[in-house]
Every structure is written in structure tokens, then in C-alpha cells.
């Protein structure tokens, strides 16, 4: 009898998986599964401490695309090469597969993947006589946002993340900067915040939010914006593709039937402002239950699992963004009007070549180096200060530049 302890993040899809565990144990009576479901930040802290100190508390970890390459290089993860014959690795979306592989070896199995896109209110667009292109430019978005803003009615042209944090405003701003041709570091790891591209990005962002954003934007994150959008306060919202299913769910959203989707905006430089992320399952090195763990991972990320969810809870609830086959499934496409755009968004993001100019790092809305979390948080604070108006765009960029230089010097990337 093997007991697997699975550490996971408390997202809807993961929780659903937790509910379906019995299906797995029924098929594998010699395995018991126990769940540790935690909020993202706690999970990351918890799992990292454990794996780094070889605490051995978990058998299956839920980690993001940020951790996978770092940890894999440290040999902290078991390469997943025994997922079984019918696992069909080839069916995984290539961008996602790349993100969880190192040197061609799969180190984590993607459970669901996401990118970002524009969600907008069709009714408001119609009323204003605007038409959202499938792949809008930033100019269009800015212009539309201003036009759609009606503060007296409590409707704001656009809702964007503003709360400081590497996974909060910096995820969005890095993706946006990519579309403006900016990058975090040049090939020699020199920070690039003083570049005109970053200045353009941040100026646009701050001006846009000042004119067309909701009040309190500097402390809004994903959830706050979701709440605003669902309450009908936002005409546009650029955020994770998973939000698509929330905003079109009539149980949660007052505007479920009035939402349209579009690719994240671009500036015509070849990159859209979208990111790439996948929550994936991995096995820590040194685990004595590798076999059972792989069995479980294979089950949880398989096509059959998708079918199982579809059978139990409907196609709208299957974990998105990992397998090509899903996006060819007519049943899914029927209930998920955003499916095509989600796929397109994921395809548009390339963690290995995230920016217009070349970069030494992997990752779209982050740089997959251990130091990034701290740097990202500091830079995020500067940018949220610029948004709140307590500092200028220029000052924020200078501060971000020097903070990043400082950290990179300390970490030994640059002298």
C-alpha cells in the first residue's frame, strides 16, 4: 500500500481533480492519495523549502513553468519518462511541452496551461459603435478604453493588474513590454529598464489606467479585477485565459452572455502581450514512490482524465491549455467559445524566445532564474507606485533599473 501526498494549488481545476481521486484509487487499489491544497504563495514557499532541504514531505508537487527549468537543472525533479504508452506526449501543446521540458526531457506533466488575452464587453462595444479586431493593437485598446469609460455610470474602459508582485502586475507588464519590444536583460544580463521601449510601455500603461482605469487599480490583482469585470464595471480586461471560463459562467458573472475575446494587444512588432503559464505535476528527486507518483501524474494529465471530467462535470470544466486534441474536440469547442483564442494565445507565446530582441533567459512574463522573484517584486512595487501617482514613470524606471542591477551584481550575473 502506497500513500501519495500531493501538494497542489487551490485552483478550481485542481480541486476538481481532488474530487475525482476516487476514480484513480479505484483503478489502483494499492495507492492512497492525500491532498495538501494551498494558496499559491504558501504552496510555493512550502514546496520549495521541502525540496531544497530534502524534507520528503511530498510525493507529487504542483509547480509552475517558472520552477520547472530551475529545479530540473538542479536535478531536484525526476524526469517523467515512464508515463505509459498511451500517454501520448506528442499530443501536448508544443509551447507548453517546451516550458516543462529541459534538454528535451519532460520534468513535469502540464495539468492546465494558460496565456493571456483580452476579454471585453460586446454590449458596450456595440453601444459605442466599436468593433474589436481579433488581434487588436495597443493603440486601438487605448483609444477604445478611453471611449468606453463612463465614470458616472461606474464603468471603466479597462481593468489591468496593478498590485505589486512578480506574479501580479509584473506578469502583465512584462508581457506588455514584450509586445513593445522591451526586454528585462540584454544578452549580457544587463537590465534594460532605461530603454525607450520600457518607457513607452510604462507610460502607456500609466496614462491608460489614469484615464480609463478603475480607482484603486494599484492594489488590484487578478481576483479584484475578476470581481470588477463580473460585476460589470470593466469594458475590457486583459488577463489570464482561464478567466474566460469564469467571466462566461452565469453563476459567477453578471455579464456572462456579453463577453467577447481577442488576442492580447500588440504593437506590430511581432509579439503579442501574452504570457505563458502552466501548472504542472512533478515528482521530487529522492522520492521512494516514483512509480506510484508517475502513475498518478499520468492519470491526472491524460486524455482520459479530460474525458472523465467531461463526463462528470461537463466539457466546460475540463482543464484547458495542455493538449492539442482538446482543441480539436467539437464538444469542447461548442461550450468554450474562447477555446480557439486560448489556443492561439498559447501558441503566440514562446518562452524560449519571448521578446523581439534576443535575451539570455527563458520565460515570457518572467525570467527563469532564482533571483527573479525578488527582483520582480521590487520592480513591481516601483511600477505600482508609478500607477498610483506617488512617483513618476521615469523615477520608477530608474529605481527599477538600479534595484535590478544591484541584485544581478550580487547574484554574480554582471560585475
Amino acid at each position: 500500500q502506497t500513500t501519495l501526498t500531493v501538494a497542489t494549488v487551490n485552483n478550481g481545476d485542481m480541486i476538481r481533480m481532488q474530487g475525482l481521486t476516487s476514480e484513480f484509487t479505484a483503478k489502483n487499489p494499492d495507492i492512497t492519495v492525500k491532498w495538501v491544497t494551498l494558496e499559491e504563495n504558501v504552496l510555493r514557499q512550502r514546496v520549495t523549502t521541502d525540496i531544497a532541504t530534502k524534507g520528503g514531505q511530498f510525493d507529487v508537487l504542483t509547480i509552475g513553468t517558472y520552477e520547472v527549468p530551475i529545479w530540473a537543472k538542479k536535478n531536484w525533479l525526476v524526469p517523467l519518462d515512464k508515463l505509459g504508452a498511451d500517454y501520448d506526449v506528442g499530443d501536448l501543446l508544443p509551447k507548453i511541452k517546451d516550458a516543462v521540458s529541459v534538454d528535451g526531457k519532460l520534468y513535469a506533466a502540464p495539468f492546465y496551461g494558460e496565456s493571456s488575452m483580452v476579454m471585453y464587453r460586446t454590449d458596450l462595444f456595440d453601444k459605442a459603435g466599436l468593433k474589436m479586431p481579433e488581434s487588436p493593437t495597443w493603440d486601438f485598446v487605448v483609444d477604445a478604453a478611453k471611449k468606453l469609460t463612463d465614470k458616472s455610470a461606474g464603468v471603466y474602459g479597462i481593468c489591468l493588474r496593478g498590485k505589486a508582485g512578480w506574479g501580479e502586475n509584473m506578469a502583465f507588464l512584462t508581457a506588455m513590454a514584450n509586445s513593445y519590444g522591451a526586454r528585462w536583460f540584454d544578452e549580457k544580463w544587463e537590465p534594460q529598464f532605461t530603454s525607450p521601449e520600457w518607457k513607452k510601455t510604462l507610460t502607456t500603461y500609466v496614462d491608460l489606467m489614469k484615464q480609463a482605469g478603475p480607482p484603486g487599480a494599484s492594489s488590484n490583482g487578478f481576483n479584484e479585477n475578476l470581481a470588477l469585470f463580473n460585476a460589470g464595471k470593466c469594458a475590457m480586461w486583459i488577463d489570464a485565459t482561464v478567466a474566460a471560463s469564469f467571466v462566461s459562467n452565469p453563476k459567477e458573472s453578471t455579464v456572462a452572455d456579453k463577453v467577447g475575446f481577442a488576442l492580447a494587444p500588440n504593437t506590430g512588432l511581432g509579439k503579442n502581450a501574452n504570457w505563458l503559464w502552466a501548472w504542472s505535476l512533478a515528482v521530487p528527486a529522492g522520492s521512494k514512490k516514483v512509480e506510484a507518483a508517475e502513475k498518478f501524474i499520468a492519470w491526472a494529465t491524460s486524455k482520459d482524465y479530460t474525458k472523465l471530467v467531461a463526463a462528470k462535470e461537463g466539457w466546460a470544466n475540463v482543464p484547458p491549455g495542455t493538449r492539442t486534441s482538446l482543441y480539436n474536440n467539437p464538444d469542447y469547442l461548442k461550450v468554450a467559445p474562447f477555446a480557439k483564442l486560448t489556443l492561439a494565445s498559447i501558441d503566440a507565446a514562446d518562452p524560449n524566445k519571448p521578446t523581439v530582441k534576443p535575451v539570455p533567459y527563458v520565460g515570457v512574463q518572467y525570467a527563469a532564474i532564482p533571483e527573479f522573484q525578488g527582483i520582480g517584486t521590487q520592480v513591481g512595487q516601483q511600477f505600482s507606485a508609478a500607477l498610483s501617482g506617488s512617483t513618476t514613470v521615469d523615477a520608477a524606471l530608474t529605481a527599477a533599473q538600479s534595484a535590478t542591477e544591484r541584485e544581478m551584481k550580487r547574484a554574480g550575473y554582471i560585475k
Binding site: K163, P215, L228, K233, G374, T377, S388, S390, A403
Partner: protein, 290 residues
């Protein structure tokens, strides 16, 4: 009372607590001092090397350090002031004859029951949110513009939430202390012609001096390390406006798993806390004696 007998016994009875706390202090402290001199990144094991005071230099030269130090002091000072200035009258009120006292008392203590993360979320999203919060709605009812709390007064907003959480602590300690105030002393003061206010100033307040000291010291210890409320509401921003030392250590050190600078930061925090405590004791310490 103070016989050698009792003194000896007293020492003996104090020993378990002192011994336990000593171990609890010395073991992590020693390890922390050791780690603080290392370049040690948890995500990069095997690369540990001795770097001397580099971690301290790094931590102390952070441009955010001074700002966060200031924020820490403002936060601690304001919350202390608010909780005590409101806690004393509140404790006095709860010391009166009130119908349904147990219920009121429980309601007043209740904020302390809520986990910091949860209460920060409640305040941020359900109450203070400028669009969907209750305060904004109330302001709207009166035809006023909604206050954009976390944008316009981020530190104050955080202070407000933390004060709400710690007010019960101060109130409860003060209330309990009021219970041991000899009623006859108050009667004597009344006979001496003291008004209610004079009785409060000259009899009640001196009696509360020691509990107030304790509230100040204990709260200070907790407030110096406030973290969850900031993390949940503002993420330390905008800018550095709500970054305190604890958050700085977190953002700089822990989320990078840089054990070396986390340790150095921790030690700096210990030193700072001791300095704060030293001054506090200077100010209020004599209340502890006798």
C-alpha cells in the same frame, strides 16, 4: 516575603521557562548567525561559501531599507497609539454595567479571532475597495466620492486594518487589569472630591500603567513583524509606501530563498527590535517594577 527561601524556590520555578527559552533563542540564533555569514541560496545548494559581512552590507545598503525602517516605525507607533487610545476607553466602557455584556465583550474581542490574511482580505475587498467596497457604497449614499484607500493612503489603510485586529488585545488586557482595581480606592478618591475624570487620571490610569506597558511591549513585538496584512493588501506598494522591514526581508530574501541574506535581515531585525524595545523600556519600563 522576599526571603532567601522563596528566592531560591523562585529561581527554581523560573528555570524551566528560562532554560526552554534560552535554547529556543540560542539554537536558531547561532544557526542564523552562521548562515548570515554564508553565501547560501536554498535553490542552489552546494555552493555555500563564507562571505563575511557581505550579506549585512547588502541588506543595509538596500535603498528600500531606510524607507521600510520608517514605515515600520510609523506603523508600529500608529497602531500602538490607536489601540491604546481607543483600548482604554473601550475597556472602561466594558467595565460598566451593560445589558448583554458578555455578548458585547465577545463582539469586541472577535476581530482577534480572525486570521490576519482573512481579515486583510475582508477589509480590502469587501469594505475598502473603491469600486465594490461597502465604504464606497456608503460614501456614495451620502453623495461623496469614494475614498481610494490603498492608492491614496496605503500605509494608513494598512494601519487601520492592523489596529482593528489588535484593538481587542489591548482592550482585553486592560479590561482584565481593571478588574483588579480596588473599588475602595475609587471610593476614597470620590470622597476626596475627585470628579470622574480626575479619578480616571489619578487612580485608574496609574493602575493601568503596568498593563499598558505590557500591551505596548507585546504589541510592538508582533507589529514589528507584520507581514500577511501587507502582502495581501498592497504587496508592499505602491512603491515602498507600505514596505516594512518584515516585508523587505520577505521580498528580498525569502522569495529568492537566499538564506544568507534572510539570516542577515533577520539579525538586523532583531537588533532593530531590541533598540525599539530598549527605548520603550526607557519610557515605560519603571512600571514593571514593584
Amino acid at each position: 516575603m522576599a526571603t532567601q527561601q522563596t528566592q531560591l524556590l523562585a529561581r527554581t520555578l523560573l528555570t524551566p521557562a528560562v532554560a526552554l527559552l534560552f535554547i529556543w533563542m540560542i539554537v536558531p540564533l547561532a544557526l542564523t548567525i552562521y548562515f548570515a555569514t554564508l553565501h547560501y541560496n536554498l535553490l542552489d545548494p552546494g555552493s555555500e561559501s563564507f562571505v563575511g559581512l557581505e550579506n549585512f552590507r547588502y541588506f543595509l545598503t538596500d535603498p528600500a531599507f531606510l524607507a521600510s525602517l520608517q514605515n515600520t516605525l510609523v506603523l508600529v507607533g500608529s497602531v500602538l497609539a490607536i489601540t491604546i487610545i481607543l483600548g482604554v476607553p473601550l475597556a472602561l466602557l466594558l467595565d460598566q454595567q451593560v445589558v448583554g455584556l458578555s455578548i458585547v465583550r465577545l463582539m469586541v474581542i472577535a476581530p482577534f479571532f480572525v486570521m490576519p490574511t482573512v481579515s486583510a482580505l475582508v477589509w480590502k475587498n469587501l469594505l475598502m475597495h473603491p469600486v465594490s467596497g461597502l465604504f464606497a457604497w456608503i460614501a456614495h449614499l451620502f453623495g461623496l466620492p469614494a475614498i481610494d484607500w490603498f492608492n491614496d493612503a496605503p500605509l494608513f489603510s494598512v494601519i487601520l486594518i492592523i489596529s482593528w485586529q489588535w484593538l481587542p488585545f489591548a482592550t482585553l488586557i486592560l479590561l482584565t487589569a481593571l478588574q483588579s482595581l480596588d473599588e475602595e480606592q475609587k471610593e476614597a478618591a470620590e470622597m476626596d472630591g475627585a470628579s470622574a475624570i480626575s479619578t480616571f487620571i489619578y487612580i485608574t490610569l496609574p493602575h493601568l500603567a503596568r498593563p499598558i506597558t505590557v500591551v505596548i511591549l507585546i504589541e510592538t513585538i508582533f507589529l514589528l513583524t507584520v507581514f500577511a496584512e501587507i502582502f495581501v493588501t498592497t504587496g508592499g506598494g505602491p512603491g515602498l509606501q507600505t514596505t516594512n522591514i518584515a516585508f523587505l526581508i520577505y521580498s528580498q530574501a525569502l522569495i529568492q530563498y537566499d538564506v544568507g541574506s534572510a539570516s542577515a535581515g533577520g539579525l538586523v531585525a532583531v537588533v532593530l527590535a531590541n533598540i525599539v524595545a530598549f527605548f520603550l523600556v526607557r519610557i515605560v519600563g519603571r512600571n514593571l517594577e514593584a
